[in-house]
């Protein structure tokens, strides 16, 4: 078994007052897609912010590739090979697509930037035709593509993706998860992805953590989870078969809004 690219142990964090997440422990290995699912308000995004250095932890430890990044500043976390795509405000809106990618490669040697950009365009071909466009004027799907391309410029060892399919049309969301997110993992990086679309993300995940009420409730491979009555009961709610059907319907309803 390969060493963990990311280990978060006992992470407790919040925005002042009571912590939003308590004692959350998870790990991800290189080449793995590890998902975190759970209802709204379960603390999934807070967990990612704490790992990314955007939010201060009141307890816990974060280690990336053997380096202790507990409560390190966001720029230090980035410099340690962690690429973070927030759920909102995920691109530099006034900058062009090319400039966004250049900012993603801010830590890359100037001479290596063109090659990195070429690689990003291979992974996200549509970005190649929109390099001069202003990022703030892109569609939701294009914007997410750019946000992921931006972090790919860094060639990070860990990707942190916060609900990348939020507000995307169903087909785009599926493509993004099944093709682009899996491509990121194939670059031998660990991908930690937070999603509300449980069925869709389980389909591409190697391992999944389930959060509820700011705590980890369950974890396992997708196959293990979908066979687990506890998962069905606490996360999908109800009988397994009905719940899965409902989850699928919810996925379609959510994506249909975009």
């Amino acid at each position: 078994m390969s060493a963990d690219a990311l280990t978060a142990t006992g992470v407790t964090a919040g925005y002042g007052g009571d912590p939003v997440i308590r004692s959350v422990t998870l790990r991800a290995q290189a080449g793995q897609i590890v998902s975190v699912v759970g209802p709204n308000g379960s603390g999934k995004s807070t967990l990612l912010k704490a790992i990314a250095g955007v939010l201060r932890m009141s307890a816990g430890k974060v280690v990336v590739a053997g380096r202790d990044l507990t409560n390190a500043a966001a720029e230090v976390v980035a410099r340690s090979g962690v690429g973070y795509v927030p759920q909102v405000d995920d691109v530099f809106a006034p900058l062009t697509v090319r400039e966004n990618l250049e900012m993603g490669g801010y830590l890359v040697a100037r001479s290596a930037v063109p090659d990195r950009m070429e690689h990003v365009i291979e992974v996200f071909p549509r970005l190649g035709s929109m390099l001069r466009r202003q990022a703030g004027k892109l569609s939701g799907g294009e914007r997410k593509m750019l946000a992921m391309g931006r972090v790919l410029m860094l060639a990070p060892s860990v990707f942190l993706l916060d609900e990348p399919t939020a507000n995307l049309a169903p087909a785009i969301a599926r493509t993004l998860l099944e093709e682009q997110v899996t491509t990121l993992a194939r670059s031998d990086a660990a991908v930690l992805i937070v999603e509300q679309r449980a069925r869709a993300v389980l389909a591409v995940s190697d391992y999944t953590y389930v959060m509820g009420g700011g705590e980890l409730r369950l974890s396992g491979t997708p196959a293990e989870l979908t066979e687990s009555p506890a998962f069905v009961e606490s996360f999908l709610g109800g009988h397994r078969d009905q719940a899965i059907q409902r989850s699928e319907a919810d996925d379609h309803a959510d994506t249909g809004k975009a």
Partner: protein, 288 residues
């Protein structure tokens, strides 16, 4: 017709001075999140630094460099001593505005205490007068316009083509995302205070050259024009500030040729209000 052309000439010079100040002000605001009303007081400090160097026998060019250095240092000090500590304590943007107003008074009265209330001027010639198709401008006025053009091109090139300039724009657009890209936002902000402080010192000196003589409170009213130009162009937008400076500079000086010159600052705000009624985000929006 000659009156109109003469006022356009004055307007171009005012626009040139205003553009340097407005671009510095708006860049500072965009990157640091501080609407620094002490900007004009720092301009005055720069102008006085230039005066001291000029009085000591140095040329006006050396004096301008001294003013830029003084502006950069004073702005950096204000950032470290005043604004950053308040920002770390979570001071609201409006609180910082009030703090900057207090800082402006402290700087201005400090200069007045040191320099006295007298008007001073640089030891320099205004040069020949040139008739450029009806526009009557002195050599010094042409140089002021040239300096401003060089600064505008330089700022544009820096923001568009340099790593620092792009990092400044990224930090201005989304500070947290910039940090998540590995950009040391704190360092970018510190550099921005220095750079915009240098522009502030330069603006103060060319302003003083343009008006001929100045004292510790000469830039007070100019701050109003700076704000008008910045908000007309779109706060935080350097290119908007350039455009805003041109409109406000020309608008105030041309209006002064036809109505009482005392009302030219009112004209600046009439232009601003009229434009904002049509485009509330300013001529070029809020993004740099």
């Amino acid at each position: 017709m000659s009156l109109l052309l003469a006022s356009v000439g004055f307007g171009l010079v005012t626009s040139a001075v205003l553009a340097i100040a407005a671009v510095g002000f708006t860049l500072q605001f965009a990157v640091t999140d501080v609407l620094n009303l002490a900007f004009a007081a720092v301009m005055t400090a720069g102008a006085f630094a230039a005066y001291l160097v000029n009085e000591a026998g140095a040329s006006i060019w050396v004096a301008i460099v001294a003013a830029m250095a003084a502006g950069a240092v004073l702005s950096a000090v204000l950032n470290y001593v005043v604004y950053t500590p308040f920002q770390r304590r979570g001071a609201a943007p409006i609180t910082l505005v009030i703090i900057s107003l207090g800082t402006a008074l402290i700087v201005e009265f400090g200069i007045a205490a040191l320099a006295g209330g007298i008007n001073v001027s640089y030891l320099m010639s205004q040069g020949k007068t040139h008739d450029l198709g009806g526009l009557i401008l002195t050599t010094v006025q042409l140089i002021i316009i040239a300096i401003s053009l060089v600064v505008m091109v330089g700022v544009y090139a820096m923001l568009r083509y340099t790593k620092l300039g792009k990092a400044m724009r990224a930090t201005a657009a989304n500070r947290m995302l910039a940090r998540s890209c590995g950009i040391r936002a704190g360092r970018v902000i510190a550099i921005t205070w220095g750079l915009t402080g240098a522009l502030c010192g330069l603006a103060g000196t060319v302003f003083a050259i343009d008006v001929g003589s100045f004292n510790a409170s000469s830039t007070d009213i100019f701050l109003i024009l700076i704000l008008a130009a910045v908000f007309l162009g779109g706060p935080g937008n350097a290119y908007g500030a350039m455009l805003g400076a041109l409109v406000i500079g020309l608008g105030t000086e041309v209006s002064a040729a036809y109505i009482d010159a005392d009302y030219k600052y009112v004209v600046a705000f009439v232009i601003l209000l009229a434009m904002l009624a049509v485009r509330p985000t300013g001529l070029l929006g809020a993004a740099t």
